[in-house]
């Protein structure tokens, strides 16, 4: 009898040991902002995509961790009619999370919905060049363009261009049904969202069984939650001041990456005194970027000299074009007739880069004789006064949309830069499909806006992530705002 008793005990011990050794398959991720809803086709909040992009929803194409455009629901494509027609062949065997089959009809439905007159898609402009979507058969769909467009595949990779099922699309805000490797499970509003592995995923299945997004807005609370072990990772960690401390701790690894966020001292080009290029040039030379990055961002951030991401292959380093030179700034102001000094408004939205950076910039401007009157605004006020009303001289904001240099070709955009040359250039860029020529045009545009000192170019926002050192596969950079968990796993 005795030996019989040992068997279950041994088995039990082995089982327990096995459990302890096997790698974890669930993950808790911290996010600073809670998404208002889970419909990426009906709002601009970055937090929506940070939960659903690539996890729950997929589009025809998607962004990879390096920002390249990769196939997703489209397995392959061909370009016809001089670049005005794209024919996509779709992945087969794809189903939505509710079991409905995915087909080319869903693609047509989703794009038509985004383009429709009553569409509330925040990036409706991405689809402006699409003439029609044509269903060829169940697995083939064609997109006809109004004119050739080199950026269609890029545009379709945005979270705003995901594919929904017509039967469930209306409830996406609270009950998202997609085709991705994770299924929406539960939302405890204000606290967390849980997603679980999709067992019938068409592609490479996720390695995690479950992921939880937890919302912690206070930087100090985020720090405490990491130390207390409540969180496994915080990909956009909000407290740069204690990154060094976390980095020194072997339990955590700190990952520094880049984002698409060009942080600029945005300048109203249509309003005196900054309608004068000499004053804008003086402004650019009055700014000491190093001091701003150290003081406002605790040293995290890459200086930029134009509106373009430094990690992009087409980037031109133009920082020296607006090097810190207060004497030159004073001379320029004198030349422009502002010897007696200037008083301008500096309207700051809530993020720390703007509030902390604004104080430092105001001090730097004071040294050359410009008095910047700081006004702190909430986002909604900022949108109303600055973005819509264009009632400002200066503001600080990070432009986080990828590849957004095209905003300089829009004279109605809030900083109101009106230059026919760049407008022609960007128009030509839109229809150019040759990659080398496109790169060249982008570089030309970067030089143009740098030479015209349209805005004060400060730094590229860094992505400062903290994670348990055993977690592998999280994105290092942020080519789009997302927490792609498809390749994340725990090391044994």
């Amino acid at each position: 009898m005795k030996q019989h008793l040992w068997v279950p005990v041994l088995l039990l011990t082995a089982g327990l040991a096995g459990n302890a050794l096997a790698a974890k398959t669930d993950l808790t991720i911290g996010m600073q902002l809670e998404p208002p809803n889970l419909d990426p086709t009906g709002g601009a909040a970055a937090a929506i995509d940070e939960v659903v992009y690539a996890n729950i929803f997929e589009g025809l194409t998607r962004f990879g961790p390096d920002g390249s455009v990769r196939p997703a629901l489209a397995a392959s494509w061909s370009i016809e009619n001089d670049g005005t027609r794209y024919v996509f062949s779709l992945q087969s065997g794809v189903t939505f999370h509710d079991g409905a089959a995915f087909s080319s009809e869903d693609v047509k439905f989703s794009i038509d919905r985004a383009m429709a007159e009553d569409s509330t898609n925040a990036q409706k402009g991405l689809f402006a060049n699409i003439d029609s979507v044509e269903v060829i058969d169940d697995n083939t769909v064609a997109i006809n363009l109004k004119q050739a467009d080199g950026s269609l595949l890029f545009n379709l990779a945005w979270g705003d261009a995901i594919v929904l099922d017509s039967a469930t699309a209306a409830n996406t805000a609270t009950q998202p049904v997609g085709t991705g490797p994770f299924v929406f499970d539960k939302w405890v509003q204000g606290d967390r969202i849980e997603i679980v592995k999709n067992d019938s995923y068409w592609g490479t299945p996720a390695k995690l069984d479950k992921a939880t997004f937890k919302f912690i807005s206070e930087p100090t609370a985020a720090y405490a939650a990491i130390l207390a072990g409540d969180l496994d990772a915080f990909p956009n960690y909000p407290a740069p001041e204690n990154l060094a401390q976390l980095d020194a701790d072997p339990r955590y690894s700190v990952v520094l990456g880049s984002t698409e966020g060009e942080t600029i001292l945005s300048t109203n080009n249509a309003k005196a005194p900054f309608d004068d290029v000499r004053v804008r040039k003086a402004l650019a030379h009055a700014i000491n970027r190093g001091e701003i990055i150290d003081g406002a961002m605790f040293g995290y951030g890459t200086p930029i000299g134009t509106h373009f991401a430094p990690h992009n292959p087409a980037y031109v380093d133009l920082v020296s074009n607006s090097a810190y030179d207060p004497d030159m700034a004073k001379a320029l102001l004198k030349e422009a007739g502002h010897e007696a000094g200037l008083t301008v408004s500096l309207k700051l939205p809530p993020p720390a880069y703007a509030r902390r950076g604004g104080e430092i910039i105001a001090a730097q401007l004071r040294d050359v004789g410009i008095t910047a009157e700081i006004e702190n605004l909430e986002w909604a006020q900022w949108l109303e006064q600055v973005f819509k009303g264009k009632d400002f001289n200066l503001t600080i904001v990070s432009h986080t949309e990828p590849m957004d240099i095209g905003i300089y070709a829009n004279p109605d955009y809030y900083f109101q830069y009106d230059n026919a040359e760049i407008q022609t250039l960007m128009e030509a860029f839109g229809v150019e499909t040759d990659p080398d020529k496109r790169t060249e045009m982008l570089q030309q545009a970067q030089r143009m806006i740098s030479d015209d000192y349209v805005n004060g170019y400060l730094f590229q926002l860094a992505k400062t992530g903290v994670a348990n050192s055993k977690i592998q596969g999280l994105w290092e950079n942020s080519p789009t705002q997302a927490n792609d968990l498809t390749a994340v796993y725990w090391e044994d």
């Binding site: 809803n37 007159e117 990036q123 204000g190 405490a224 939650a225 207390a228």
Partner: protein
């Protein structure tokens, strides 16, 4: 008593009507358009217009006010612009955190304050009194968010007995949920307990100086018996007032503590909704809070009448 009740109810309704008007006007004049906020920097003007009409923001303000008030009378608080869920559901979710948290903190502060206040009053000027008063001074002086951080540092990070914050949810079990409210409740209770102790003590001391207390002692009651049997009940009016105020404060005023412990309570919901210009949520929640405060005051009034029969007779 019944007339007293009716009159109180009438003034309650009038207060609510005036409040609804004030809340609506004040919140509607705040600049910032919810639709532009939701759609961000790249949105096209026609998209913003489409969303505005979807949310009903293109209607006139008086029409929206009437809709809002009549909706509330039917129990319909409207739908959140950003979350796209009924406000009533959101509020009830949050209330299930804020209300238990407020109660928990209130119970803790009463449990601390009553004995401490009575003890200090009964040993006026002695070592016990000095000690208790010293602690209450400290309790009022320490900011509760700072005390909260100390609690997290010690109990969550060092000992790992509690998590640093968040709310597990009631469906995870009563004690699991209660546990996640414990540190926040302690942090909230500390300053409240300190205030309540001081009120309890001074109110008791006032009563102890009254003639009827001397009579009670002369009848042969011990100090202790006289205090518990006669003084306590008479000292309750100011204490009840403070408890009522504290409870109203705890329901919505816990916002800083909610942020420290990232608890999804009512305070944080208001804060978030203001930033997002989710006007309908702000309006409805503020209205509910007005309602709660008015009702708590009403209950406190009734409690006065209960402890002080003179108030009953006078009306």
């Amino acid at each position: 008593m019944l007339r007293y009740l009716y009159r109180r109810l009438g003034s309650l309704a009038a207060t609510l009507l005036v409040a609804s008007l004030v809340v609506f006007v004040v919140i509607e004049v705040v600049p910032g358009d919810p639709a532009s906020y939701m759609l961000g920097l790249n949105a096209q003007p026609d998209t913003v217009a489409a969303l505005r009409s979807e949310l009903g923001l293109d209607q006139s303000k008086p029409a929206r006010y009437v809709q809002w008030v009549t909706g509330m009378l039917r129990g319909d608080f409207g739908q959140s612009y950003t979350y796209r869920t009924p406000v009533a559901d959101m509020v009830s979710d949050r209330l299930w955190i804020s209300l238990p948290l407020a109660l928990y903190a209130l119970v803790l502060s009463i449990v601390i304050a009553f004995p401490a206040g009575i003890w200090a009053a009964s040993r006026r000027g002695g070592a016990a009194d000095t000690t208790v008063m010293g602690f209450t001074q400290l309790g009022i002086a320490i900011p509760n968010f700072w005390f909260a951080m100390l609690l997290v540092l010690f109990f969550a990070i060092k000992l790992r007995w509690f998590s640093a914050g968040g709310f597990a949810g009631w469906d995870e079990g009563f004690f699991v949920a209660l546990k996640s409210l414990t540190l926040p409740a302690i942090a909230l209770a500390l300053p409240q307990a300190a205030i309540l102790t001081r009120v309890m003590r001074s109110s008791l001391l006032d009563v102890l100086g009254e003639d009827f207390m001397r009579t009670a002692r002369a009848k042969g009651l011990s100090r202790r018996q006289a205090l518990l049997r006669h003084a306590l009940r008479n000292a309750m009016i100011p204490v009840l007032t403070i408890i009522g105020l504290q409870f109203s404060f705890l329901i919505a005023g816990a916002i800083i503590i909610e942020n420290v412990f990232f608890l999804p309570g009512l305070g944080r919901l208001i804060f978030q909704s203001i930033a997002q210009r989710d006007l309908i949520v702000v309006e409805s929640v503020v209205m509910l809070l007005v309602f709660a405060v008015v009702v708590v005051t009403f209950i406190v009034d009734l409690a006065y009448a209960w402890v002080d029969p003179r108030l009953r007779r006078r009306s």
